[in-house]
Protein backbone atom coordinates (compact mmCIF):
# COMPACT_ATOMS: atom_id res chain seq x y z
CA UNK A 1 0.00 0.00 0.00
CA UNK A 2 2.80 2.33 0.99
CA UNK A 3 4.51 1.43 -2.24
CA UNK A 4 1.40 2.03 -4.36
CA UNK A 5 0.82 5.42 -2.79
CA UNK A 6 4.24 6.66 -3.82
CA UNK A 7 3.88 5.66 -7.49
CA UNK A 8 1.86 8.70 -8.70
CA UNK A 9 4.17 11.06 -6.81
CA UNK A 10 7.27 9.50 -8.35
CA UNK A 11 5.66 9.67 -11.79
CA UNK A 12 4.72 13.35 -11.47
CA UNK A 13 8.03 14.54 -10.01
CA UNK A 14 10.09 12.19 -12.18
CA UNK A 15 8.21 13.35 -15.26
CA UNK A 16 8.72 16.98 -14.29
CA UNK A 17 12.47 16.69 -13.88
CA UNK A 18 12.83 14.44 -16.90
CA UNK A 19 11.02 17.01 -19.02
CA UNK A 20 13.09 19.85 -17.61
CA UNK A 21 16.53 18.27 -17.78
CA UNK A 22 16.45 15.99 -20.81
CA UNK A 23 16.22 18.86 -23.29
CA UNK A 24 12.96 17.65 -24.93
CA UNK A 25 11.37 21.03 -24.24
CA UNK A 26 13.79 22.87 -26.52
CA UNK A 27 13.15 21.76 -30.07
CA UNK A 28 15.49 23.43 -32.54
CA UNK A 29 13.85 25.33 -35.33
CA UNK A 30 16.76 25.13 -37.76
CA UNK A 31 18.58 21.99 -38.78
CA UNK A 32 21.78 21.10 -40.53
CA UNK A 33 20.68 19.37 -43.77
CA UNK A 34 21.24 15.64 -43.99
CA UNK A 35 23.63 16.02 -46.94
CA UNK A 36 25.88 18.23 -44.83
CA UNK A 37 25.86 15.76 -41.95
CA UNK A 38 27.25 13.17 -44.36
CA UNK A 39 30.11 15.48 -45.32
CA UNK A 40 30.83 16.15 -41.66
CA UNK A 41 31.11 12.47 -40.88
CA UNK A 42 33.31 11.86 -43.90
CA UNK A 43 35.81 14.72 -43.49
CA UNK A 44 36.24 14.49 -39.73
CA UNK A 45 36.25 17.24 -37.16
CA UNK A 46 40.01 17.86 -36.94
CA UNK A 47 40.27 18.53 -40.66
CA UNK A 48 37.19 20.76 -40.62
CA UNK A 49 38.57 22.86 -37.76
CA UNK A 50 41.80 23.37 -39.68
CA UNK A 51 39.97 24.49 -42.83
CA UNK A 52 37.52 26.57 -40.82
CA UNK A 53 40.30 28.49 -39.12
CA UNK A 54 41.60 29.60 -42.49
CA UNK A 55 38.17 30.56 -43.84
CA UNK A 56 37.31 32.47 -40.68
CA UNK A 57 40.51 34.47 -40.75
CA UNK A 58 40.16 35.36 -44.42
CA UNK A 59 36.38 35.87 -44.74
CA UNK A 60 34.46 36.23 -41.50
CA UNK A 61 37.17 38.30 -39.81
CA UNK A 62 36.50 41.06 -42.33
CA UNK A 63 33.82 42.25 -39.91
CA UNK A 64 33.62 39.84 -36.98
CA UNK A 65 35.96 39.27 -34.10
CA UNK A 66 36.44 35.90 -32.41
CA UNK A 67 38.11 37.18 -29.29
CA UNK A 68 38.25 33.87 -27.44
CA UNK A 69 40.46 32.64 -30.30
CA UNK A 70 42.45 35.89 -30.43
CA UNK A 71 41.07 36.79 -33.87
CA UNK A 72 40.12 40.42 -34.54
CA UNK A 73 38.51 42.15 -37.52
CA UNK A 74 40.65 43.26 -40.46
CA UNK A 75 40.66 46.90 -39.35
CA UNK A 76 43.16 46.22 -36.55
CA UNK A 77 45.78 45.62 -39.24
CA UNK A 78 45.20 48.95 -40.97
CA UNK A 79 48.47 50.95 -41.08
CA UNK A 80 47.39 53.50 -38.46
CA UNK A 81 45.82 50.93 -36.13
CA UNK A 82 48.47 48.24 -36.19
CA UNK A 83 50.95 49.82 -33.74
CA UNK A 84 48.24 50.32 -31.12
CA UNK A 85 46.90 46.82 -31.73
CA UNK A 86 50.34 45.29 -31.30
CA UNK A 87 50.95 47.10 -28.01
CA UNK A 88 47.54 46.10 -26.67
CA UNK A 89 47.98 42.46 -27.66
CA UNK A 90 51.33 42.37 -25.89
CA UNK A 91 50.00 44.07 -22.76
CA UNK A 92 46.98 41.77 -22.53
CA UNK A 93 48.55 38.48 -23.61
CA UNK A 94 46.46 38.37 -26.78
CA UNK A 95 43.06 38.54 -25.15
CA UNK A 96 41.56 42.01 -25.25
CA UNK A 97 38.72 42.34 -22.75
CA UNK A 98 35.60 43.99 -24.09
CA UNK A 99 36.23 47.34 -22.44
CA UNK A 100 39.75 47.61 -23.86
CA UNK A 101 38.77 46.39 -27.33
CA UNK A 102 35.69 48.56 -27.66
CA UNK A 103 37.45 51.66 -26.38
CA UNK A 104 40.61 51.29 -28.43
CA UNK A 105 38.79 50.65 -31.68
CA UNK A 106 35.67 52.69 -31.00
CA UNK A 107 36.02 54.64 -34.27
CA UNK A 108 36.40 51.53 -36.42
CA UNK A 109 33.47 49.84 -34.70
CA UNK A 110 31.42 52.97 -35.28
CA UNK A 111 32.36 52.78 -38.95
CA UNK A 112 31.17 49.18 -39.11
CA UNK A 113 27.95 50.20 -37.41
CA UNK A 114 27.37 52.92 -39.98
CA UNK A 115 27.92 50.42 -42.79
CA UNK A 116 25.89 47.52 -41.39
CA UNK A 117 23.28 49.14 -39.16
CA UNK A 118 24.66 47.45 -36.09
CA UNK A 119 28.10 46.33 -35.00
CA UNK A 120 28.76 42.81 -36.33
CA UNK A 121 28.83 40.85 -33.05
CA UNK A 122 31.79 39.04 -31.60
CA UNK A 123 31.29 35.39 -32.51
CA UNK A 124 33.13 33.75 -29.60
CA UNK A 125 29.99 32.30 -28.05
CA UNK A 126 27.77 32.28 -31.15
CA UNK A 127 28.04 28.53 -31.72
CA UNK A 128 26.22 27.87 -28.45
CA UNK A 129 23.54 30.55 -28.46
CA UNK A 130 22.62 30.11 -32.11
CA UNK A 131 22.96 26.34 -32.12
CA UNK A 132 24.63 24.40 -34.90
CA UNK A 133 21.54 24.33 -37.12
CA UNK A 134 20.77 28.03 -36.99
CA UNK A 135 24.44 28.95 -37.43
CA UNK A 136 24.66 26.76 -40.54
CA UNK A 137 21.58 28.35 -42.06
CA UNK A 138 22.71 31.89 -41.25
CA UNK A 139 26.02 31.40 -43.05
CA UNK A 140 24.25 29.66 -45.92
CA UNK A 141 21.70 32.40 -46.41
CA UNK A 142 21.67 35.24 -43.87
CA UNK A 143 18.54 36.86 -45.28
CA UNK A 144 16.45 33.74 -44.77
CA UNK A 145 17.17 33.43 -41.06
CA UNK A 146 17.55 37.10 -40.12
CA UNK A 147 15.39 39.09 -42.56
CA UNK A 148 16.79 42.53 -43.19
CA UNK A 149 20.31 41.80 -42.01
CA UNK A 150 23.13 43.46 -43.91
CA UNK A 151 25.39 40.46 -43.51
CA UNK A 152 26.39 39.45 -47.05
CA UNK A 153 25.90 35.95 -48.40
CA UNK A 154 29.45 34.65 -48.81
CA UNK A 155 28.30 31.78 -51.03
CA UNK A 156 30.30 29.20 -49.13
CA UNK A 157 29.65 25.56 -49.97
CA UNK A 158 28.40 23.12 -47.35
CA UNK A 159 31.84 21.83 -46.48
CA UNK A 160 33.18 25.35 -45.95
CA UNK A 161 30.21 26.26 -43.76
CA UNK A 162 30.71 23.14 -41.67
CA UNK A 163 34.38 24.01 -41.37
CA UNK A 164 33.65 27.54 -40.10
CA UNK A 165 31.05 26.17 -37.70
CA UNK A 166 33.46 23.51 -36.39
CA UNK A 167 36.10 26.18 -35.85
CA UNK A 168 33.69 28.50 -34.04
CA UNK A 169 32.75 25.61 -31.78
CA UNK A 170 36.33 25.43 -30.52
CA UNK A 171 36.11 29.02 -29.31
CA UNK A 172 33.53 28.21 -26.65
CA UNK A 173 33.21 24.44 -26.21
CA UNK A 174 35.99 22.06 -25.14
CA UNK A 175 37.83 20.12 -27.83
CA UNK A 176 36.95 16.49 -28.56
CA UNK A 177 40.02 15.39 -26.62
CA UNK A 178 39.13 17.50 -23.60
CA UNK A 179 35.52 16.31 -23.76
CA UNK A 180 36.55 12.67 -23.71
CA UNK A 181 38.89 13.42 -20.80
CA UNK A 182 35.99 14.92 -18.87
CA UNK A 183 33.80 11.95 -19.73
CA UNK A 184 36.48 9.59 -18.44
CA UNK A 185 36.77 11.47 -15.14
CA UNK A 186 32.98 11.55 -14.96
CA UNK A 187 32.76 7.78 -15.42
CA UNK A 188 35.28 7.22 -12.62
CA UNK A 189 33.44 9.61 -10.29
CA UNK A 190 30.04 8.03 -10.95
CA UNK A 191 31.40 4.52 -10.41
CA UNK A 192 33.04 5.74 -7.22
CA UNK A 193 29.76 7.04 -5.84
CA UNK A 194 27.94 3.83 -6.73
CA UNK A 195 30.59 1.77 -4.93
CA UNK A 196 30.38 4.15 -1.98
CA UNK A 197 26.60 3.73 -1.87
CA UNK A 198 26.95 -0.06 -1.90
CA UNK A 199 29.60 0.00 0.83
CA UNK A 200 27.51 2.21 3.11
CA UNK A 201 24.45 0.03 2.49
CA UNK A 202 26.39 -3.13 3.41
CA UNK A 203 27.89 -1.50 6.48
CA UNK A 204 24.47 -0.30 7.54
CA UNK A 205 23.02 -3.79 7.22
CA UNK A 206 25.74 -5.28 9.42
CA UNK A 207 25.47 -2.52 12.00
CA UNK A 208 21.69 -2.78 12.26
CA UNK A 209 21.83 -6.58 12.57
CA UNK A 210 24.49 -6.46 15.19
CA UNK A 211 23.10 -3.68 17.34
CA UNK A 212 19.68 -5.28 17.03
CA UNK A 213 18.10 -2.10 15.79
CA UNK A 214 14.92 -2.02 13.80
CA UNK A 215 14.93 1.11 11.77
Amino acid sequence: MKFLRSIPIVIILGGLFYALWSGILEPSEWKVPQSAEVIKAKVGETQLIKEGSKIFKTSCAACHSLRYKKIYPFFVNAPNEKPLFKILMKEHNGFLTRDVYESAFALQLKGLKAAFGSIPPDLSTAYVYLGEGKLFNIIKNPQKVIPGTKMPNLHLNDRQILAVSAFMKTAILPTAKETSRRHLIGMIVIIFFIILAILIALYRKVVLEEDNIEE
Binding site: N93, G94, F95, F192, F193, I195, L196, L199, I200, L202, Y203, V206, V207, E210
Partner: protein, 172 residues
Protein backbone atom coordinates in the same frame (compact mmCIF):
# COMPACT_ATOMS: atom_id res chain seq x y z
CA UNK B 1 30.48 -13.92 16.50
CA UNK B 2 34.15 -13.00 16.13
CA UNK B 3 33.74 -13.45 12.42
CA UNK B 4 30.87 -10.98 12.38
CA UNK B 5 32.66 -8.28 14.34
CA UNK B 6 35.54 -8.39 11.91
CA UNK B 7 33.09 -8.05 9.06
CA UNK B 8 31.61 -4.97 10.64
CA UNK B 9 35.02 -3.48 11.22
CA UNK B 10 36.11 -4.31 7.71
CA UNK B 11 33.07 -2.72 6.10
CA UNK B 12 33.31 0.30 8.39
CA UNK B 13 36.92 0.83 7.49
CA UNK B 14 36.31 0.26 3.78
CA UNK B 15 33.53 2.86 3.82
CA UNK B 16 35.72 5.33 5.67
CA UNK B 17 38.61 4.78 3.25
CA UNK B 18 36.31 5.22 0.24
CA UNK B 19 34.82 8.36 1.75
CA UNK B 20 38.31 9.64 2.50
CA UNK B 21 39.45 9.04 -1.06
CA UNK B 22 36.38 10.92 -2.28
CA UNK B 23 37.01 13.86 0.03
CA UNK B 24 40.69 14.11 -0.94
CA UNK B 25 39.87 13.86 -4.67
CA UNK B 26 37.29 16.60 -4.26
CA UNK B 27 40.01 18.88 -2.94
CA UNK B 28 42.17 18.25 -6.02
CA UNK B 29 40.27 20.35 -8.61
CA UNK B 30 39.96 23.18 -6.10
CA UNK B 31 43.70 23.24 -5.48
CA UNK B 32 44.49 22.69 -9.17
CA UNK B 33 42.42 25.74 -10.06
CA UNK B 34 44.79 27.87 -8.02
CA UNK B 35 47.78 27.06 -10.25
CA UNK B 36 48.90 29.71 -12.76
CA UNK B 37 47.18 29.42 -16.12
CA UNK B 38 48.82 29.14 -19.53
CA UNK B 39 48.94 32.89 -20.13
CA UNK B 40 50.78 33.43 -16.84
CA UNK B 41 53.27 30.68 -17.66
CA UNK B 42 53.85 32.24 -21.09
CA UNK B 43 55.50 35.20 -19.35
CA UNK B 44 58.32 32.96 -18.24
CA UNK B 45 60.46 33.84 -21.28
CA UNK B 46 61.68 37.24 -22.35
CA UNK B 47 63.73 38.48 -25.32
CA UNK B 48 65.89 41.57 -25.10
CA UNK B 49 67.90 43.39 -27.76
CA UNK B 50 71.33 44.26 -26.28
CA UNK B 51 72.68 46.35 -29.14
CA UNK B 52 71.69 49.63 -27.45
CA UNK B 53 73.27 48.88 -24.07
CA UNK B 54 75.94 51.10 -22.60
CA UNK B 55 78.57 49.99 -20.08
CA UNK B 56 77.37 50.03 -16.45
CA UNK B 57 74.03 51.53 -17.44
CA UNK B 58 71.16 49.52 -16.01
CA UNK B 59 68.35 48.29 -18.29
CA UNK B 60 65.23 46.86 -16.64
CA UNK B 61 62.91 44.39 -18.42
CA UNK B 62 59.81 42.70 -16.95
CA UNK B 63 60.26 38.97 -16.50
CA UNK B 64 57.70 36.76 -14.71
CA UNK B 65 56.13 39.96 -13.49
CA UNK B 66 59.36 41.08 -11.80
CA UNK B 67 62.20 43.32 -13.03
CA UNK B 68 65.18 41.76 -14.75
CA UNK B 69 68.42 43.76 -14.51
CA UNK B 70 70.40 43.64 -17.76
CA UNK B 71 73.90 45.08 -17.39
CA UNK B 72 76.85 45.45 -19.71
CA UNK B 73 80.13 45.08 -17.82
CA UNK B 74 83.39 46.72 -18.94
CA UNK B 75 85.63 44.45 -21.01
CA UNK B 76 88.14 42.53 -18.90
CA UNK B 77 86.28 43.32 -15.70
CA UNK B 78 87.30 41.50 -12.50
CA UNK B 79 85.60 41.65 -9.10
CA UNK B 80 88.73 42.68 -7.22
CA UNK B 81 88.44 46.21 -8.49
CA UNK B 82 85.03 46.77 -6.84
CA UNK B 83 85.54 45.35 -3.38
CA UNK B 84 85.43 41.75 -4.51
CA UNK B 85 88.78 40.89 -2.95
CA UNK B 86 87.20 40.15 0.47
CA UNK B 87 84.44 37.99 -1.01
CA UNK B 88 83.80 34.50 -2.20
CA UNK B 89 82.25 36.03 -5.33
CA UNK B 90 79.70 33.22 -5.72
CA UNK B 91 77.77 35.00 -8.45
CA UNK B 92 80.91 36.01 -10.32
CA UNK B 93 81.89 32.36 -10.65
CA UNK B 94 78.54 31.61 -12.29
CA UNK B 95 78.76 34.73 -14.39
CA UNK B 96 82.28 34.42 -15.71
CA UNK B 97 81.52 31.96 -18.55
CA UNK B 98 78.42 33.98 -19.44
CA UNK B 99 80.40 37.21 -19.74
CA UNK B 100 82.68 35.65 -22.32
CA UNK B 101 79.82 34.17 -24.33
CA UNK B 102 77.44 37.13 -24.15
CA UNK B 103 79.55 40.14 -25.09
CA UNK B 104 79.93 41.08 -21.38
CA UNK B 105 76.16 41.33 -20.92
CA UNK B 106 74.46 39.46 -18.06
CA UNK B 107 70.88 39.51 -16.79
CA UNK B 108 70.20 39.23 -13.05
CA UNK B 109 66.79 38.99 -11.42
CA UNK B 110 66.30 42.30 -9.63
CA UNK B 111 64.50 41.00 -6.58
CA UNK B 112 66.15 41.32 -3.18
CA UNK B 113 66.64 37.87 -1.67
CA UNK B 114 65.67 39.24 1.73
CA UNK B 115 62.00 40.10 1.35
CA UNK B 116 61.43 40.74 -2.33
CA UNK B 117 61.94 44.49 -2.75
CA UNK B 118 63.57 45.92 -5.86
CA UNK B 119 67.20 47.06 -5.28
CA UNK B 120 68.31 50.45 -6.66
CA UNK B 121 71.36 50.73 -8.93
CA UNK B 122 73.84 53.22 -7.43
CA UNK B 123 76.77 53.68 -9.69
CA UNK B 124 78.89 55.45 -7.06
CA UNK B 125 76.90 54.54 -3.97
CA UNK B 126 79.18 52.01 -2.24
CA UNK B 127 82.27 52.32 -0.05
CA UNK B 128 84.98 54.32 -1.81
CA UNK B 129 82.47 55.19 -4.54
CA UNK B 130 82.26 51.69 -6.01
CA UNK B 131 79.02 50.73 -7.83
CA UNK B 132 76.47 48.69 -5.84
CA UNK B 133 72.83 47.68 -5.75
CA UNK B 134 71.21 49.09 -2.65
CA UNK B 135 67.91 47.71 -1.40
CA UNK B 136 65.83 50.50 0.18
CA UNK B 137 63.57 48.28 2.28
CA UNK B 138 66.03 46.92 4.82
CA UNK B 139 69.38 48.21 3.63
CA UNK B 140 70.71 45.19 1.78
CA UNK B 141 73.76 45.86 -0.41
CA UNK B 142 74.83 43.81 -3.43
CA UNK B 143 77.83 44.03 -5.72
CA UNK B 144 77.12 44.77 -9.41
CA UNK B 145 77.35 41.02 -10.08
CA UNK B 146 74.77 40.39 -7.37
CA UNK B 147 76.70 39.08 -4.37
CA UNK B 148 75.27 40.20 -1.04
CA UNK B 149 77.93 42.18 0.81
CA UNK B 150 76.04 43.99 3.57
CA UNK B 151 72.68 44.06 5.33
CA UNK B 152 70.17 41.26 5.87
CA UNK B 153 70.04 39.43 2.46
CA UNK B 154 71.00 35.78 3.00
CA UNK B 155 72.08 34.84 -0.54
CA UNK B 156 73.18 36.57 -3.75
CA UNK B 157 70.71 37.79 -6.38
CA UNK B 158 69.50 35.05 -8.69
CA UNK B 159 70.97 34.63 -12.18
CA UNK B 160 68.39 33.07 -14.55
CA UNK B 161 69.10 30.75 -17.46
CA UNK B 162 70.09 32.87 -20.46
CA UNK B 163 71.75 32.78 -23.84
CA UNK B 164 72.68 35.22 -26.56
CA UNK B 165 71.50 34.67 -30.14
CA UNK B 166 72.84 37.36 -32.46
CA UNK B 167 72.12 40.53 -30.55
CA UNK B 168 69.13 39.13 -28.67
CA UNK B 169 69.42 37.98 -25.10
CA UNK B 170 66.91 35.19 -24.38
CA UNK B 171 66.12 34.71 -20.71
CA UNK B 172 64.07 31.78 -19.41
Amino acid sequence: MGDKISRRKFLGRATCVAGGIGAVSAVYPAVASLAPDKAALAQSMVKFDISGLKELKLATVPYKGKPLFVMKFPAGFTPEKWGGQDQENINYKIMKPLLAKQKNVVAIIGVCTHLGCIPIWEKNGGKNGIPVYYCPCHGGVYTPWGDNIAGPPPIPLHIPKQKLVGNTLIVG
